[in-house]
Symmetry: C2
Subunit: 551 residues, 2 copies
């Protein structure tokens, strides 16, 4: 079945390596859990150094991809850089992850009290489906990243296999929503397990194919002596999920509750195994990691995750979410000429005024999502290395961002000063708050390993540290403030909310100024004896002193 | 209103330039129209050389952006590479360009003959809206590319201004569909013109801001002496569109037909002016271009267009289009438990079988869009320089791709062997044919200037030339074949169509083999005297000889 084109391949030009093998060994060793927690500094530094070197090589490869892949095609004419394939996959997966918010958004909320009970149940079920789908799709995405951190070049066969894999991943949300709507029917479960098993088999084929053409692989594996060990390790990790799904689908015939438990284990497997390892290391002391262990497929929270792909995925989610409302508006809010003639006496303006609140919701949600993207963008400009833990926090942030347009739409759907309006506005505030606070958490997590994860400008005491903090903290603070203000002044909740929408963009424009004023005020309060005239000149110094005051 | 943060900026580190100024001048000169047609070789070569050098610099800058923007931030701490901002803008614009297909897709086509007449009118109106929106949004996108080919670095202010610009661009399709539904009401026109004017003003602010902070600019402009000339030229070109929209909105009060003409001129302005120039040059002989003319904002078909952004935009469109049907399926095709209980006696499988054709439509359209993406990807791997003309052809191809899911959905909506089914299948074939033929046209256009636009592998007589031709020609040929087969064997149209859907992915997998067999056969036919045994060994030579036979 494997076509001739994929078999007849020239031998590869040997990779140009000039680092000594000691460094290589150091890279391939898993960081022991103590060093991952920031313990032993020496090994940390060596490792970081080695990784930087490695990173440079990866970057060189990815920059080569921008040059039309010309340098990548040296090995064989049909070999290509994987850059664009991965960008396309990221776009597909981000759309699929976000799309399950649509059934939630299109559930009509009735004002009458009788229907509310059943609708609230339906709505919460749909929200649960949305969150679970988002989680599952991002788990599949993380597995995809991991796979293509090992395989760094592609050819036509791999591109086509990857497209087949994508097709099945995009079908997952549907099987999952079947499962949620008919929890006692095993069909949804079987479809889901079937998809996951086929995805696993395709991924195994991809791995086998890539290992039979080693020039497609990561340079570390390409030059290593025990390629077979890597192959079996990777295959073992990949096959774990389909095998568990296979058992889940068999158990679903016998005792279907058990299969749900199995599926939950599949999703949370990395976290469970990590917690288990951590407990064991605490209980029986430091466990020596076997030297054969690899850097890939470790499930350690500090395992690197391609920063470029985290950015691409986040961009996709932010872009879809920002435009979700305009999709609805374009489809539903163009009035029918006949209706305009009958109901509004031919006045288009009057007809459009009925939709007024929806335009407001669109601009509000676009601005909020856009500014959250802006904060994310500013943060990741200063991030130099992404870990799996940071990726997880990013996923949580994005899951909340996905709910934002819905919340904004709700704020404008109810009559003024009603209880529902207040509730909707407060839900919006809560969503914005969590979306922002998880972004802040990414930064805090990065600060724990700031030497390898962050640009020196935003380290503790760095030039941009306070400014970055202000950027990240602005939305959570504003959302929290609005929430409590609406609790107290529930009469004016809508006005407060609109005021917030309008002022936040200007706050971002003037943020640098505001931070400076804030710092000056703080200095006045805490060190009033220092002359204030020099404050503008000695900016950097003052920031450092502020840090030492606060932290 | 400009915040302090944006004003207090350090002087830039001087750009490291080591090319002599003669080369620089040569770049900044507009290629005279004869050399653009492949005429004078000498100046062409110099220019190409200079451009390659320039391209390397751009690539270096963009690869720096992948390194966390660290090297870009050298100039000033708040300066950032624009890479991710542009990727996000591309994602937003591609979603908006594609989204107007949704109202078309959701128009229910009735089988009864009475309603068909009015529905066909409505449908064709909506398709016209879709195509026009696609065109207008891509014109806005091309303007955005042009702007950010001049401005290569951003800071926070520019990022926020760009987001504001994006918000208005995403609102354009709605105003346009208002215009289409109420052609005699001036409100849609006024809204559209208002949006365009505000976008123009924001872009002017961006240009003014960037020229007041020259380190944000392209290196060519940064080092040139007459920056002011560039500034006024760019502003003049940008302001042309809003000013015409201003007149259009004024005329709409007096004589609204005229304003539509004005708008059409706005959209086609580049092409009109280009045709006019070309005619003039033919009529009165070669016109000497003034030496002050710049490479940017020329409206020449050979003006370079950022290849990276063309790829990003295409990826966005392909990703949205591939998932359009699953969005519908996830929302509409999860049956209600009560309905399943009542109508299907609790059998979920029976209920889902009713949706069977829609799953088939999904997989069919995903596979087709995915494979068209694959062809596009293979083509652009070998493209080294994109021009405005190639961008235009790409836009046409994408516009057809956008209609694909709709066509596929239609093929499964009608009863078997009906006249409608045959029509729908033939429409699908036509759409696939045009989407593929425009991709082929991009390659043909690139071949006219193959030395600067293509990788040597796919030049006439290059190693991959025939293979690339086969890849690009596969879909148009298959679509054409299916079309004529369904004309002849209209009884079996559905089976033929499904057979095509299944065989095409395998054809792509085996394409290299098929091309080789085809070549061997051709050789047997045309040069039967050559020994066939050496054919596999002398592959490259045989390809060259094939080229000399065919061309």
């Amino acid at each position: 079945m494997v076509p001739e084109a994929c078999v007849q391949l020239l031998p590869v030009s040997p990779p140009t390596v000039n680092w000594n093998s000691a460094v290589v060994k150091n890279i391939l060793l898993v960081p022991s859990s103590s060093s991952a927690m920031g313990g032993s500094d020496d090994s940390d530094l060596i490792e970081q150094h080695a990784e930087e070197e490695m990173g440079d090589k990866n970057r060189a490869a990815s920059s080569a991809s921008l040059m039309g892949g010309s340098s990548c095609r040296e090995g064989h004419s049909s070999t290509q850089s994987s850059h664009r394939l991965l960008a396309y996959s990221d776009a597909l997966i981000s759309i699929i992850a976000t799309v399950m918010i649509l059934p939630v958004a299109h559930t009509k909320v009735e004002s009458s009290e009788e229907l509310r009970q059943s609708l609230q149940f339906l709505l919460s079920a749909k929200i649960a489906v949305y969150l679970m789908t988002f989680l599952i799709v991002t788990v599949a995405w993380a597995a995809h990243i991991r796979l293509f951190q090992v395989i760094v070049r592609i050819d036509d066969c791999l591109a086509l296999l990857n497209l087949a894999c994508m097709m099945l991943i995009t079908f997952l949300p549907y099987t999952f929503s079947l499962m949620a709507m008919f929890p006692k029917n095993i069909l949804g479960m079987l479809l889901f397990c079937g998809c996951v098993m086929v995805i696993g088999i395709i991924q195994c084929v991809i791995v086998l194919y890539a290992f039979s053409h080693p020039f497609l692989l990561n340079e570390q594996i390409q030059i290593s002596e025990n390629q077979n060990f890597y192959k079996s390790h990777i295959l073992k990790v990949i096959m774990r999920v389909p095998i568990m799904c296979f058992f889940a689908s068999i158990f679903s015939f016998i005792f279907f509750q058990l299969s749900y438990v199995l599926l939950a284990i599949v999703v949370f497997l990395p976290y469970i195994s990590q917690t288990f390892k951590w407990c064991r290391s605490k209980a029986i002391g430091q466990v020596e990691e076997s030297p054969d262990e690899v850097l890939f497929y470790t499930y350690l929270p500090s395992e690197p995750l391609s920063k470029e792909r985290v950015e691409a995925f986040s961009d996709g989610v932010y872009a879809i979410v920002a435009t979700l409302l305009i999709l609805d508006i374009c489809e539903d809010n163009v009035p029918d000429p006949a209706v305009v003639q009958q109901q509004f006496g031919g006045s288009l303006i009057a007809a459009l005024q009925a939709y007024g609140p929806e335009y407001l919701a669109y601009f509000g949600s676009f601005a909020t999502v856009g500014l959250l993207w802006f904060v994310h963008h500013s943060l990741f400009l200063h991030v130099t290395k992404t870990t799996r833990f940071m990726g997880l926090l990013n996923t949580f942030s994005l899951a909340f961002v996905g709910g934002l347009p819905l919340a904004y739409q709700l704020t404008h759907e109810f009559p003024d000063h009603s209880h529902n309006e207040l509730e909707a506005i407060q839900i919006s505030c809560v969503i914005v708050f969590f979306a922002g606070i998880f972004q802040l958490a990414i930064w805090v997590a990065a600060l724990y390993t700031e030497r390898e994860s962050l640009h020196p400008d935003v380290w503790y005491g760095g030039r941009e540290h306070v400014f970055m903090l202000a950027k990240l903290a602005l939305y959570p603070c504003v959302a929290l403030g609005t929430f409590f203000l609406t609790c107290v002044l529930s009469e004016f909740s809508a006005s407060i909310f609109h005021l917030m929408e309008i002022t936040v963009p200007f706050a971002f424009l003037l943020l640098r100024l505001l931070v400076r004023i804030g710092l000056a005020l703080l200095r006045l309060l805490f060190c009033p004896d220092r002359p204030d005239l020099r404050s503008m000149v000695e900016e950097d110094e003052s920031r450092v002193s502020f840090n030492s005051v606060v932290t």
